[in-house]
Symmetry: C2
DNA sequence: GTAAAGATTTGATACTCTTCTAATTAAACG
DNA sequence: CGTTTAATTAGAAGAGTATCAAATCTTTAC
């Protein structure tokens, strides 16, 4: 599962989302630098630079090499290339949240529009109506055939306007009809 | 010039460096959503989602399509691909700060170690010594030849230990010697 | 071994930005 | 045209974090 991967990506953006830190990365892309040199170049104090460098180190973006008492930092080009590789493809992003589905929202819609088994009203917005129709379709067995009067009866358990809802179930592709007989379609996931 | 480009990149990271916002991008990568749907899915209030969506809009990462009174948002896949393209190559980063050179730091070193024309001491650290030696080399004309006594004399204007400094100038590649004659080298940039 | 240089850690302050509630706007529908 | 639904804007409270000064640590140099 990709919850960790999501957090990694988020951490990556957080680390780079600071002006000073991004400048440090830019400077180190060009040359090896000591902490003091970075501080004077950036116009900040050494502790600030140290602080930022530790954050960059957690991503593995910079490497340190001691020389005497000074610490020379440089950019890890390999890590940079790896990080940039497919950082933001649509597929990657979608996969990071694919487990966080639409369920929560759909449950809320059902809660909002149902009073027990009774449908309080038919939602005006298409997306909400689809949620209701999806639920309604599930009240029919997938492998059975229903004559029109039975369809109406089942719908009327939940809402009086069976004609409109029956039409919507057909038009939305939730159910099919041939002659006077109806059956439920299993929807494209 | 690339100051604007730097700010753009920084802004990009800032916008994506938020957990809620990154989740929104992930969700919209998979399907078109209303503000309300995003809110319930994420477990936050609508105004919060609106706030994040405006930030994402400034990057052009999301597009809005009104349907009735609801606003349906979707990810702009083209913008995403463009943003990801070479986001973080070393060359790109280096070019973003190439005008912010080492000058500030070098001036500080010269200020620290010089008292007027007199070099107070020879820095122990290699990088600092290089700055001093670079300055010292500039005291020699690039197209002249200097006998050793003259080299010593020029160095002694700034520091008594002409022997050490003369050796360092040769060893560091700042000057060259043949027989008893010295001349300045123009350094690799 | 003591001192000095350079870097890091600690603790405090200030600032930015997320999130909320409440108020406002925009659009559809009777 | 008012009413309702959905979204946005305004304003405030709170969390997170960049920065600094002071203290500590670590390594070299005399």
């Amino acid at each position: 599962m990709s919850q960790e991967e999501f957090q990694t990506l988020l951490q990556f953006f957080k680390v780079l989302a600071d002006e000073t830190r991004l400048k440090i990365v830019g400077i180190l892309a060009g040359r090896e630098c000591s902490v003091e040199e970075l501080a004077t170049t950036l116009g900040v104090r050494e502790p600030t630079v140290s602080h930022h460098l530790t954050k960059l180190k957690t991503l593995g973006l910079v490497r340190m090499r001691p020389e005497g008492t000074t610490h020379l930092y440089r950019l890890d080009a390999e890590a940079l290339r790896a990080a940039n590789k497919d950082l933001l493809t649509r597929e990657k992003l979608a996969s990071l949240v694919d487990d966080m589905g639409e369920d929560a929202w759909q449950r809320k819609i059902l809660r909002d529009f149902f009073d027990g088994d009774r449908l309080k009203e038919i939602p005006a917005s298409r997306k909400k109506r689809d949620v209701i129709l999806g639920w309604l379709a599930e009240q029919f067995a997938p492998d059975r055939r229903y004559p029109e009067p039975e369809v109406n009866e089942i719908i009327k358990r939940h809402h009086p306007d069976s004609a409109t809802l029956r039409r919507e179930l057909i038009g939305g592709g939730w159910m099919a009809r041939e002659g006077g007989v109806y059956w439920r379609l299993t929807r494209n996931a």
